[in-house]
């Protein structure tokens, strides 16, 4: 029986179809599903040759301008790449480490960093020779910015950073190949009722003196990339390693989250599509009580409901990527995307929160359904579903912003600021 295919490429440009062909061909040779399952069983660090392979393909930070080592892709292009990455690796370790995190944050670092950071870290990361990511969460607060305790104090032409960051993707990989992190610290008094003020973002190399990585976590899923943390004890970074302006780190961080979250939504579309295709092959073949499973409404209707939601999500991701392409009006962005600036950043953030909240849950629920359709086989690691279910759960519970925080953003932008909880 022919394999089930649930994609329609006719809305893609010729170049996008070629990206897709190249990525799928590469995956067939280097990252078939059985290897994805095995990598997750074996755990981190993520295989170095795959980091290099993904970089050679041009998957990482494509939206960085060409003159700074990127490819000048639109967010629409990058979202499509993210969707295919999710399809290739439904454990989302690849998306977690090298697509969403490095692209979302690397792009944002590139925008706010100086040329030294760009040359020493961003451009090598684009080539797969270094890893860069985000370290914002602390043991006492992630979404609750008021509890952030990391500090930065100026000493001559350096800044001295102290505190602990946790639940960071890729620490073991960064230790292995070099790189660094976007780190937020408090650089002024906490303002009552406006805890997000006086936060400053720095780029902190992983091999900085005084920076000690903590033990990696033993996560439920996406195990082929590490999750860890580090403690900073009088870590000194030069003034030039400040990202953007002092005390504005929170705003840049929200921009970085927006950039990463689009790609997470897109990846989750790919994860859902792969789960549905793999499940479809099984339920069309496997006979129970004289008929294929797919002939029973109990299964078929659940399948088509998820499929419909997946296509709706894909349209939504496309819309959000289109919106994001109107966001930046410098560096020839409008020329690149061919669109005029239309939406405010907060309007875009609302839509981004909608896909960040919705699509990972869809992927997780679809994996859950697929395990029910297949029964014991679906629950085993012979199939991708349990690996996908465990992996994508990380984006439901918190990675790149928890679901409830997304709902607060959506509520704020639809009902108004007077209805923001906890204020």
């Amino acid at each position: 029986m022919a394999r089930t295919k649930l994609s329609d490429d006719r809305d893609l440009t010729e170049e996008q179809r070629l990206f897709k062909e190249s990525l799928l061909e590469w995956a067939e040779r280097n990252m078939p599903l059985d290897r994805v399952i095995k990598m997750n069983r074996e755990g981190h660090p993520y295989p170095r040759e795959l980091i290099k392979g993904l970089a050679d393909l041009g998957v990482i930070m494509g939206t960085v301008p060409e003159e700074r080592g990127g490819m000048g892709l639109t967010w629409k292009d990058q979202a499509l790449i993210a969707e295919i990455i999710g399809y290739i690796d439904p454990s989302i370790a690849t998306a977690a480490g090298f697509m969403a995190v490095e692209t979302g944050w690397g792009f944002t670092i590139d925008r706010h960093a100086n040329d030294e950071i760009r040359k020493k870290y961003v451009q090598p990361a684009i080539r797969g020779d270094k890893f860069i990511g985000i370290a914002t969460t602390e043991p006492g607060g992630g979404s609750d910015v008021a509890n952030f305790k990391c500090t930065g104090e100026k000493d001559g032409d350096e800044w001295v950073l102290n505190g602990e960051k946790t639940f960071i993707s890729g620490v073991e990989e960064a230790k292995q190949i070099g790189g660094g992190y976007w780190v937020n610290v408090r650089t002024g008094e906490k303002v009552p009722g406006a805890a997000h003020k006086n936060m400053t973002a720095f780029f902190v190399p992983i091999d900085s003196e005084g920076l000690t990585p903590t033990e990696p976590y033993d996560d439920a899923g996406r195990n082929s990339i590490s999750t860890g943390g580090f403690i900073m004890e009088d870590v000194r970074v030069p003034e030039e390693y400040m990202l953007g302006e002092k005390d504005k780190g929170f705003y840049y961080t929200m921009e970085g989250f927006d950039n990463a979250r689009i790609l997470i939504g897109a990846s989750a579309v790919g994860v859902t599509r792969r789960i549905l295709e793999e499940a479809a092959d099984y339920i069309k073949e496997r006979e129970v009580f004289g008929s294929p499973l797919a002939k029973y409404e109990g299964i078929q209707f659940e399948f088509v409901e998820r499929y419909t939601e997946m296509e709706a999500s894909r349209l939504m991701v496309n819309k959000v990527a289109d919106m994001q392409d109107t966001r930046y009006d410098e560096e020839g962005w409008a020329e690149r995307s061919g669109k005029a600036k239309t939406y405010s950043p907060t309007e875009i953030a609302k839509w981004i929160s909608m896909i960040k909240y919705k699509v990972p849950h869809l992927a997780k629920d679809t994996a859950d359904d697929a395990m029910h359709w297949l029964g014991a086989a679906g629950y085993s690691s012979e199939y991708i579903f349990e690996t996908a279910w465990r992996g994508v759960m990380s984006y439901c519970v918190g990675a790149e912003g928890g679901a409830n925080i997304q709902k607060i953003v959506i509520g704020r932008e639809t009902l108004g600021k007077d209805y923001v909880p906890y204020k």
């Binding site: 490429d9 010729e14 170049e15 179809r17 070629l18 990206f19 062909e21 190249s22 061909e25 590469w26 040779r29 050679d56 393909l57 041009g58 998957v59 494509g62 490819m71 000048g72 892709l73 790449i81």
Partner: protein
Amino acid sequence: MDEETGTIIREGVPSVLNAFDEFALNLAVELKNEVEEDVEIVALSMGPPQAKEALNKCLAIGADRAVLLTDMVFAGADTWATSVTLSRAIKNIGKTDIVFMGQEASDGNTAQVGPEVAAHMGIPQLTFVTEVESVNNSHVVAKKETDEGFVRIKCETPVMIACMPTPGFEPRIPNIREIMKAKKKEYQEWSHEDLGGDPSEYGLDGSESVVIKTYSPPPKGEGIIVDDEPEVAVKKLMDFFEDEGIL
């Protein structure tokens, strides 16, 4: 296939690069990377407008420019008319040292077009080539597959080389940077007017052969599996052959 008209359904079907041609292009790109001289690779195809997509892939893999021969006048061409068209286009392109072609097309499988192009151009031909070992200003050394094994041949240029992928061959995968770069490379579409000659020399009118009927072979029935001790199995098979009128 359209059962009623006997023609191939092309609408909505993506245009893909013939695997033999892809191998030939890979050999050309490898060779270009090895030699010090300035080399230009021109990807040439004859086909409907959607063949542009396959040429875009050629540009991403490493061709420097691409030409698509697309014109309703070219439609319905047999291998003769195709090779006439291609050889005129190659002449139009300019001085050519090596014409790399796929050994055959993965749909028609005639393996005639390459040798015919060589004949029209009056140049030597090497077929079933699996590897180009070296090239200089006047000669090329290539490895050619035969029924008995391989032969190494030295041949004067210009030459037409029909390429045959080796088992396990993995074509290079164009990366996103190369795909984006390909967008900026020169791409042209030529009609019969660009090639000169009379329209009757091209396409169906210029063809020497006529296709009377094209059809899909009827699907095979289900086979039988005989899984018994030899004596019983032989008897069952003999009965089957008798029933089917084979013996």
